[in-house]
């Protein structure tokens, strides 16, 4: 049985890589390369997988919410991803890299009995990225 919880956080970022010239960055990332940055309301889905326990649950909801809040939302919500997140220093703050960061943050402190099975993050209603683990 899989259980999925949806969470939200808002953050700003700018896509820019030092490996390319300013002109090449502008061409590659378009509006996302705006030097002043811009923001999104990210929608995060966390899926866990495991048997239903004797309480009738795959996972305790409050324990799951607390873990996601502590390991992910507290670090990312209302932050500038380029400036405020040391783990992202040196990498481009694409939503792909953000998904990998979130997976690592959760997996590194995972305390729930059910397995972490999937991280899906939507940058906007039109773009989403999914990591099956």
């Amino acid at each position: 049985m899989r259980l999925t919880g949806r969470y939200r956080f808002s953050a700003s970022h700018r896509l820019d890589t030092p490996a390319l010239s300013p002109e090449a960055n502008r061409k590659l990332y378009g509006k996302c390369n705006n030097p002043h940055g811009h923001g999104h309301d990210y929608l995060l889905e966390i899926t866990v997988d495991g048997p239903v326990d004797q309480d009738g649950q795959v996972v305790n909801r409050e324990a799951m919410d607390a873990l996601v809040r502590e390991r992910v939302l507290r670090r990312l919500d209302h932050k500038n991803l380029n400036a405020d997140i040391p783990e992202l220093a040196g990498s481009v703050t694409t939503t792909e890299n953000l998904a990998t960061l979130i997976h690592g943050a959760l997996a590194g402190g995972w305390t729930l009995p059910a397995r972490l099975a999937r991280v899906r993050i939507a940058e906007t209603a039109r773009n989403s990225f999914e990591l099956e683990v």
């Binding site: 049985m1 899989r2 999925t4 949806r6």
Partner: protein
């Protein structure tokens, strides 16, 4: 090919183990343990898998699928207090997980036929919480 049909029902429930103290129930089920119950607008998505029939072009007759979902799930559960009115939830705690298992048990035998079977039951308790059940592994 996968085919998914959606249905909705609204119901109230209590998630609490009668053998436990109020404090223990609160610790395990949180607000869901309120003894007087509370409600949700459940959204059910059932996914079938099979090949389209060469004559009809359909994996499954959608009208029949709608009738199965209405008969087995929506009619007995919509606008009901699950613990009091919908067996087995007088004995089984109606968590979203247990509801998904019960829905699977009710509809799976009626869907299974040559070349088609039930693939997944997804049940949303709220827009932000859902379970996926694919039967006994």
């Amino acid at each position: 090919m996968f085919l998914t049909r959606k249905a909705e029902f609204s119901a109230s429930h209590v998630c609490a183990n009668p053998a436990w103290s109020a404090d223990r129930n609160q610790a395990v089920y949180g607000n869901n343990a309120n003894p007087n119950g509370h409600g949700h607008n459940y959204v059910l998505e059932v996914t079938l898998t099979g090949d389209p029939d060469p004559v009809t072009g359909m994996v499954f007759d959608l009208r029949e699928l709608k009738e199965i979902l209405n008969r087995e799930v929506v009619d007995p559960m919509d606008h009901r207090f699950l613990n009091r009115e919908v067996p087995p939830f007088d004995r089984v705690i109606p968590t979203t997980e247990n509801l998904a298992v019960e829905i699977w048990k009710r509809i799976e035998p009626q869907i299974r036929r040559e070349g088609v079977h039930l693939h997944n039951v997804r049940l949303y308790e709220t827009a932000d919480l859902y379970v996926d059940y694919g039967g006994e592994q």
